[in-house]
Symmetry: C2
Subunit: 257 residues, 2 copies
Amino acid sequence: MSNSRKGVKLFYDVISPYSWLAFEVLCRYRNVWNIDLTLKPAYLTGVIYGSGNQPAGANPSKLMYMVSDLKLTSEYFGVPMFRPSSISEKDSLNAMRFVTAIAEKGKDGDTLERVSRELWKRKWRTQQDITQPASLTDAGLKAGLSANEVEEILTLSKSQPIKDKLKSVTEEALEYRVSVYLYPLSFPLKCLCGKNIIKHPYTIFFPFLQCFGFPFIVCNVNGKAKVFFGSDRFELMAYFFGEKWVGPQPDKPTVQM
Amino acid sequence: MSNSRKGVKLFYDVISPYSWLAFEVLCRYRNVWNIDLTLKPAYLTGVIYGSGNQPAGANPSKLMYMVSDLKLTSEYFGVPMFRPSSISEKDSLNAMRFVTAIAEKGKDGDTLERVSRELWKRKWRTQQDITQPASLTDAGLKAGLSANEVEEILTLSKSQPIKDKLKSVTEEALEYRVSVYLYPLSFPLKCLCGKNIIKHPYTIFFPFLQCFGFPFIVCNVNGKAKVFFGSDRFELMAYFFGEKWVGPQPDKPTVQM
């Protein structure tokens, strides 16, 4: 473990199963890699539409690949999950407002983690609702909150400041700009669709928007920043941090010499 | 290394940098994992449009993430590359017909590998053209073919049987059906966009299309099949095969106990 201070921000939504995998891995590696982990509950639907991305379920081949991939991945990550019977893209709005209210209420990080985990469990393990107040109450109680606390947080979650906060964290992800080294020295940067995005005669480091889905993970170490999308970049994250990766369960290494 | 016979089919296009990473890793692990590797040159544009996917470059945030990601990933994989000054989605049609002609000509696997690698190098390392006959000739010569052989293959690459072959391998990827375990027992499978795709009262194993981009990697072992998309699933592939993953360069392990 190196002594460098490493910052990690995890933008997530409980509707996203890959966010759950990233969440568990980062929680497990927090002390192993000495990372300062900040949980950033946000709204996936806002990011998908805000970035002009295609929702995962809009493409049947991609959806079927995801179903098949999640079966093996969740087993390998030690986070049992099963595809829910239905997924609506707006399913998580109430849940993420509830989680945002917990974060804003200044509850300790453990509570935020436990409530997020309970909501993921409901949606992706036990096939339970996460849209209704009774469902959010149940998740809050299971996470160790008192009945009074849950009621207070439920009320708070419907307030304008909390709605605005969820929106602003979602925008923070969408508007996160990270420098990209553009090569070669002289170019018209043409994207695959043939449009000229930028024309510049010199090598430049330029901050670009890079968020189009969750989990979106912003890493900082020694003045360098790098973003990672998805739950399949931890090996690369370890390389970026100068740390070791031994698989998704550091207490049960699966990746070996 | 286990003794099971493992089959791996790699569907790739030289326009795809992540296909290059997958290609190099699979070539390196071929003997380490005892895999029977089959190279399947195909046409990425056909797969993107055939599956209704969004081209990577159509989304500016996704494109910038890819540029940033490739810088770190190619360094970590030991496959130096730099984003080309321009990428047109049709850039690889002549090149992939040329590669298909080599595969069909019955050249040994080494030649197919070397020519594919030379084309990737031109596009993604030295910023050279891969659309013109002179460029393909140069790649063929660098890969060890004689001038006569290159000329013969160039002519063959423009023939109808080769055009049809490239189309049929691309369709083979698109139409590759792999069984997916659908859970729970009773459901309307709703995708994120809200459409009902299928309704069935029982648990079913059903073969579904799962290809929407390259690299598309079909793995078989002990009668089980699994597909993997991208160059970030090798750790999971090792788990599926019951093999060990020590990072993208098995001769220089980066992933350790």
